[in-house]
């Protein structure tokens, strides 16, 4: 069953600026990446799904409900984390999330319980009693995520959740998003302009450009049979390459790395055996998905 389905969804502002054009997608539950450059129409899509703005043409259904008509039912099941700074500095995270829980219709005690639970799930403990103004960017992003979770939605819409975070913060935020999608059983739409960031955690991917759909598919479908093993040894790269070729493996050299297509599980063992036989210092051996970006690049060149 699709959680989000659009049919020729179009949104133009003032009849001149086109934010979305003819977007038709059907989204399955899971972690969904919505990628596109800035201004590609990601935020517009999210606002239409929330019933904040009405589409100019076409239709959209979220949980088989029309957000422009059945706004309240849709919003009760959806949590939204906006891109911009949206927290008051002079209240504590605990109070703020509790208040928003009540705005979502939770009774007072339930709102308080769920607020502290949501804050705990995003990794805020004692600091939740401090005023938000003193928080780091990463903590603020976590509070924004907690307020989207507080009313136990079935779908989260996260607009650039890693905005302004440092690399370590990004990784833990992405891990958190992935956990919400897998362990909590809540579907998540993650908006990002960084494809490399979302592809690690998503089940499926929607790429839009200039308001048009570039591609929508499951990640697994995009990357089938394209797994490679990357081998790096501190010395003797060429010896290893020739040794592997003798074993009948199709080795390509990429700088200091050797890329070996992974046909079966035994490929691992054969590489390890070859390294051991040559007594080379192995630096790394890891499985590497074909970057989804490469798929897009291929597609684009094909289009041209």
């Amino acid at each position: 069953m699709s959680i989000i389905a659009t049919q020729n969804l179009t949104k133009t502002y003032g009849g001149r600026v086109t934010a979305l054009a003819d977007l038709t997608v059907a989204v399955e539950p899971g972690v969904i990446g919505l990628v596109g450059a800035n201004g590609a129409g990601k935020s517009t899509f999210i606002k239409i799904m929330l019933g904040l703005i009405a589409p100019t043409g076409g239709s959209v259904r979220v949980f088989d409900l029309d957000p422009t008509v059945e706004t309240d039912q849709v919003r009760a099941r959806v949590g939204y984390m906006p891109e911009n700074d949206s927290l008051p500095p002079d209240v504590s995270a605990s109070e703020f999330v509790t208040h928003l829980g009540r705005i979502s219709g939770l009774p007072r005690t339930a709102a308080r319980e769920r607020a502290s639970e949501a804050l705990r799930h995003v990794g805020l403990y004692e600091e939740r009693y401090r005023q938000i103004g003193g928080y780091s960017t990463g903590m603020k992003q976590r509070v924004k995520l907690a307020q989207a979770l507080v009313h136990d939605p079935d779908l989260l819409l996260l607009d650039e959740p890693t905005n302004g975070m440092d690399p370590a913060g990004r990784d833990s935020m992405l891990a958190l998003v992935q956990r919400i999608g897998t362990e909590f059983g809540i579907s998540v739409v993650v908006c990002s302009h960084l494809l490399g960031e979302v592809e690690q955690i998503c089940d499926s991917l929607i790429a839009i450009e200039g308001g048009r759909l570039l591609r929508a598919d499951r990640i697994s479908a995009m990357t089938t049979a394209s797994d490679v093993l990357a081998v790096e040894v501190s010395e003797g790269t060429e010896e290893l390459a020739s040794a592997l070729k003798e074993l009948g493996l199709d080795v390509t050299v990429e700088g200091r790395l050797l890329l070996v297509p992974m046909d079966s599980e035994v490929t691992y063992d054969r590489i390890l055996q070859a390294v051991a036989d040559l007594d080379l210092p192995l630096h790394r051996l890891d499985q590497r998905r074909h970057r989804v970006a490469e798929l897009f690049a291929q597609r684009e060149t094909a289009d041209v």
Partner: protein
């Protein structure tokens, strides 16, 4: 960040996520939540000590005046201020109160960008405006109504005519409360509209004070015109004299300075139009804000 990512992460894992299966309340309860939140914010409850200073200073002064009035009346038998003239006399304090509190209620939300969080929930612009308006009006009414109650208690305990005196006093208090409510509603609607125009609290406060301040001289000028009709209608020019005019039209013994003659209904219509107009403009403003 580092402390978040380390040891505690395993703890989260163990607790697990619980789905919420309890009751979800409707828009009425949401309205109530914003309303209560607004009243608490108006008096700085649940906020830092700094946020409490101003509202409680104003409330303290108003209450002190009421205590003095009640004491003078009981001891010396002199009525310095009755219930309605008390509200009139406190008008400047009320203006400062709304000038600080209205931006606290609406500009603050605009500045910090929380509105998208509100409006992505089952909540309409009308609910938000309605609850904020009700909260501010209630706060202003409490600011005047509680001291009026103090004056009433003072008078009721020292009355020399027993129960009859208490009943008589109550007959004065209730119109006084109604008059305070009128103050509250007019001031709340105007100040919220001005405050909703900007996210900067200082600008909003200045704008609100200016709106009330600038209109007062107009009334003074009109009152000096030779035409008696112009004098009777002069009060329409300023929100404060507008309320005073309605008071002198409907309540015996209120605002003797302003004689509205037969034009009382004009004051009533203007007040109604003013309140309704402000609220409709607010609604139009927030309909637009809500969709951003």
């Amino acid at each position: 960040m580092s402390e978040l990512a380390t040891t505690d992460a395993s703890v989260i894992h163990d607790i697990g996520y619980q789905r919420y299966t309890g009751r979800r309340l409707g828009r009425g309860a949401v309205f109530g939540a914003i309303y209560v939140h607004g009243i608490r914010a108006a008096f700085g409850l649940g906020r830092s000590a700094k946020a409490k200073i101003f509202p409680w200073l104003v409330a303290g002064i108003v209450l002190l005046v009421a205590v003095i009035v009640a004491a003078v009346r009981s001891q010396a038998g002199i009525v310095l201020l009755n219930y309605t003239t008390f509200a009139d006399t406190m008008s400047w304090l009320v203006i400062f109160f709304v000038a600080i509190i209205a931006p606290e209620l609406v500009s603050r939300d605009m500045r910090s960008g929380v509105l998208p969080l509100y409006f992505s929930r089952p909540l309409r612009a009308a609910d938000y405006i309605g609850a904020k308006f009700a909260a501010l009006a209630s706060a202003v009414w409490l600011l005047l109504g509680v001291p009026q109650l103090v004056m009433f208690v003072g008078a009721a305990f020292t009355t020399k005519t027993g129960m009859k005196g208490v009943w008589h006093e109550l007959g004065d208090l209730l119109p006084g409360w109604a008059y305070s409510l009128l103050w509250a509603v007019v001031f709340a609607s105007i100040s919220l509209l001005i405050a909703s125009a900007t996210g900067k609290r200082a600008f909003a406060a200045a704008g609100i004070v200016a709106a009330f301040l600038m209109t007062t001289p107009v009334v003074a000028v009109l009152l000096n015109l030779p035409s008696s009709t112009a004098q009777h209608l002069a009060g329409l020019a300023s929100p404060m004299s507008l309320i005073g005019g309605i008071g002198s039209w409907l309540i015996y013994g209120a605002n003797a300075d302003l004689n509205v003659d037969r034009f009382g209904p004009v004051y009533g219509i203007e007040a109604f139009t003013l309140i309704a107009g402000c609220l409709l403009l607010l609604l139009a403003r927030y309909r637009k804000v809500a969709s951003l």
